[in-house]
């Protein structure tokens, strides 16, 4: 008589067996295998004695207290202020002198809102483009590793210029956290734009991007911008 293996019985106990009729029928007919199954059941029942210790009723709050200390600082909800200020600072020069007629107060307000919206979209786009570029560095599979390409260096240089403007504005209006993120981004973009075309340079950049959680920081900043 062919008996089921221990593996067959384990799968049967966990409901993972291919429940063919022969196994069920065999267990009905074979005392030895039924005893074997009973032993396995008993062993596993004893394992159930290992119950985790109780946690206090405020356990979740205690865990949060520990975890929250390790999280990156949240961006201030007033981030819209520096973005609005950026709209004024960056676009004021561009628009200065272009209108000869003096607009009334309502027109100025509407123009201000439009400028802010334009800049928010531009900044959001800038952050997304930066993420895409950094992702290309991070996600390049080892098997197809290649040096930093000239085109990537060129894109990094362009993004670097824009990033400096946004960062300077952020500092001017006191949005230090956001400015710090942009400054970190700048350093990476600078190295990418000036770095050697080598595999080592790419690996070095990949490590820095990952160690500094740059993609995460850019995503958070981008999400904040999109809210306004």
């Amino acid at each position: 008589m062919n008996h089921p293996s221990e593996e067959d019985l384990v799968l049967h106990l966990y409901g993972e067996a291919d429940e063919s009729d022969w196994l069920r029928k065999h267990l009905e007919d074979c005392t030895r295998c039924r005893e074997e199954l009973a032993v396995l059941r008993q062993v596993l029942a004893e394992v159930d004695e290992m119950t985790p210790p109780e946690r206090p009723s405020d356990y979740g709050a205690r865990v949060w207290a520990r975890v929250s200390k390790e999280l990156p600082p949240p961006l201030r909800s007033s981030s819209c202020y520096w973005l609005a200020a950026a709209a004024v600072l960056l676009l004021a020069t561009f628009l200065a002198g272009r209108f000869t007629a003096r607009p009334d107060a309502d027109e100025l307000a509407r123009a201000g809102q439009i400028r802010e919206r334009i800049l928010l979209v531009a900044l959001s786009d800038h952050l997304e483009q930066s993420q895409v570029l950094l992702l290309e560095v991070v996600n390049r599979e080892d098997g197809s590793a290649s040096p930093i390409a000239p085109l990537e260096r060129e894109r990094a240089a362009e993004l670097l210029q824009a990033s400096r403007l946004y960062r300077q504005t952020a500092y001017q209006v006191g949005e230090v956290t956001a400015a710090d993120v942009l400054e970190e981004l700048e350093r990476i973009l600078l190295d990418m734009s000036q770095g050697p075309e080598s595999l080592e340079a790419r690996e070095g950049l990949r490590s820095r991007i990952e160690e500094r959680d740059m993609l995460f920081k850019l995503r958070v900043l981008g999400s904040t911008v999109k809210k306004f």
């Binding site: 221990e6 593996e7 384990v10 799968l11 966990y14 993972e16 032993v39 396995l40 008993q42 062993v43 596993l44 029942a45 004893e46 394992v47 004695e49 290992m50 119950t51 985790p52 210790p53 946690r55 356990y59 979740g60 709050a61 865990v63 949060w64 520990r66 975890v67 929250s68 390790e70 999280l71 949240p74 961006l75 959680d213 993609l215 995460f216 995503r219 958070v220 999400s223 904040t224």
Partner: protein, 187 residues
């Protein structure tokens, strides 16, 4: 894990909202601890795993697809974090000291005998579990205690169903061997 947060909370947490993430932490802490304890085998390591699990989850939330089951995803993060903690841990004799060595229960009341017996069995089980490899322990805990299917376990442990099965078989075989002396004595 039970769904304890809404899609709105998840969406806000994914965009970096820490107040939303707090709801997740407070809602899932007990489940995460339970799994972490069963994989690591002691409170100290389990607490480390709990904290690290939520920090990893916060960083990886971007990769979580909204249509997926968040509890399953968090299980995966917890299991892998706990296994990492287990790997790093230097097993000391103190932590795995079998409690049955505390001596015979002399002069205790009959009502306490069962408690003492359960205590001894538990110590023996903990000792037996500590002999499993990380993969064996992870596979066994997720299948036995958390009642995940083998397919779910393999997905959580980033391995194949076949490798998960083999790990489960080895785990049960080792446990049976370690627990053999008390087989038949439980009641």
């Amino acid at each position: 894990m039970k769904a304890v947060v809404t899609e709105d909370v998840l969406a806000r947490a994914r965009s970096g909202d820490q107040a939303a993430f707090r709801i997740i932490v407070e809602g899932y802490s007990r489940d995460v601890f339970r799994l972490a304890f069963r994989i690591t085998g002691n409170e100290e390591d389990a607490e480390d795993a709990v904290q690290e699990t939520f920090l990893r989850a916060y960083r990886k939330l971007e990769g979580f697809e909204a249509r997926a089951n968040f509890g399953t995803w968090l299980y995966r993060v917890t299991a892998n974090t706990s296994i990492d903690v287990l790997r790093k841990r230097k097993r000391s004799d103190d932590r795995t000291a079998p409690l049955e060595d505390e001596g015979p229960a002399v002069g205790i009341a009959p009502s306490q005998e069962k408690t003492v017996y359960r205590h001894q069995v538990r110590a023996r089980v903990e000792s037996a579990l500590s002999c499993l490899s990380e993969l064996e322990r992870g596979a066994f805990v997720l299948r036995h205690f958390e009642e995940m299917s083998l397919a779910e376990v393999s997905a959580s442990l980033d391995t194949t169903v076949s490798a998960t099965k083999q790990a489960l078989f080895r785990a049960v075989r080792k446990l049976r061997k370690s627990l053999a002396p008390v087989e038949g004595s439980a009641s």
